[in-house]
Symmetry: C2
Subunit: 229 residues, 2 copies
DNA sequence: GGTTGAATGTGACTCAAATCACGTTTGAGA
DNA sequence: TCTCAAACGTGATTTGAGTCACATTCAACC
């Protein structure tokens, strides 16, 4: 699965974490990276693995999932182009807390563990990259814990719809099955189906197989956000 | 509330985030800090505030809480001596995501926003302090989201008991009312009371007013952790 | 176009946990 | 020791959401 094509500086430029970095450093990081390919369904790493490598999505989509004790699989998030995942052992954790699985054909850039370690030691600019990534995660986790803790299932589904909305087409659309949406919002398919039927009755969305067309995104906003508009 | 007594280097040494820092730097950080005092119940900062200052608990206990839309208050965690909170706007967030309230008499050290900003610029050693704090939070949040997402209420209550157990007395004890425990574990008082009665029947804890005596801490471990013993 | 497996729709049932509504105990201070 | 507010105990009721079971529709591909 290792692709011989090297990681080009211009490729890395597409990844937000490297936007603010001088060219020289981007290319030195690029030299340390490895390009890999995964087919849909392939496991990239498993919950419990000790790898501290960091993974960057160059193309395709990766699913981060977690298996709970009762055997249900909770999707944590989807990683699209430009996103970064893994590297958890750098964050004082001794193993990966979740599993990463390719959802489509994906091309990933890997920054191996020891390379990440060195980055921190040497160069304050590179530390900023790490801080940037940290920030993203903290924000995401803060959000997840807020959402799981206080919202109802209906709100969580709405939130997922807004998170994975694709506005590049008109009207905007969410390319997820009810099944996947259920997993991402921490519930089961039937509940998603029922809630989407409700939303359809209200004229907020339109259901087609495999896609959900969003007619009125604003109606999906949680009450608090709606107030502030 | 500003206390004239300066923050001493030896005071900072008590805080884990500064353990690995050379003396010279600890004292330069100490010079930037301000000591403040809060009475029980006082609000330290509110959800939505934009302050990016970081707060360190020197003595006493602070409660981090979040008000959900339905008006219920969810306690996120308690901060005891040595813990750090706040500074969220440094983490790419534009406002504090939660409220901090003094639970007892507390003495806090504040590292003002611009001081934190400078730290990152200048000294790679100080950046490690930030990374340390980041790591702690990521770990905590990862835990919270795992707990909220997959565990049952009973498991969450057990988890809270273990988190806030005070082992400095024998037998160990948890100094929280059912009400506070309910808030921390994301449920309501009645459910906590009922679950604790159960645990008492099983001989795991003993209930007294305002304190819960833990007779058998191991029995509180979740199934997964229990297996690995 | 007919077959097939995935995706969706829907009713009935179940259950954990929240809510409601009390009564009882506790402990600190007048 | 009396009082009162806070903390605790407990039944009855409600409900959100997960589970089960099965029917229906969709889309891809020979």
């Amino acid at each position: 699965m290792v692709d011989r094509a090297p990681v080009r500086t211009s490729d890395l430029r597409e990844i937000p974490a490297f936007h603010s970095l001088p060219d020289a450093q981007v290319s030195s990081v690029a030299a340390l990276m490895v390009r890999r390919h995964f087919a849909p369904g392939q496991i990239i790493f498993m919950e419990g693995d000790k790898s501290g490598a960091m993974w960057f999505v160059f193309s395709g989509r990766v699913k981060i999932i977690k298996q709970s004790l009762n055997g249900r699989i909770q999707g944590l998030c989807l990683m699209d182009r430009g996103k970064c995942f893994g590297g958890c052992s750098l964050f004082d954790m001794d193993h990966n807390p979740a599993t990463a699985q390719a959802l489509t054909e994906v091309t990933l850039f890997i920054l191996p563990e020891q390379a990440v370690g060195q980055m921190g030691e040497n160069d304050p600019n590179l530390v900023k990259v790490l801080l940037h990534i940290y920030s993203q995660r903290l924000e995401h986790l803060a959000r997840v814990s807020e959402v799981l803790g206080s919202w109802t299932v209906a709100d969580r589904i709405n939130d997922c719809l807004l998170t994975y909305i694709n506005r590049s087409v008109q009207p905007p659309v969410v390319d997820l099955t009810h099944e996947k949406l259920a997993s991402l919002s921490g519930t089961v398919r039937e509940v998603v189906t029922r809630h989407l039927s409700l939303l359809e009755k209200e004229g907020v969305v339109h259901n087609t197989s495999g896609h959900i067309i969003i007619l009125n995104p604003d109606a999906l906003l949680p009450p608090c956000a709606a107030e502030s508009r």
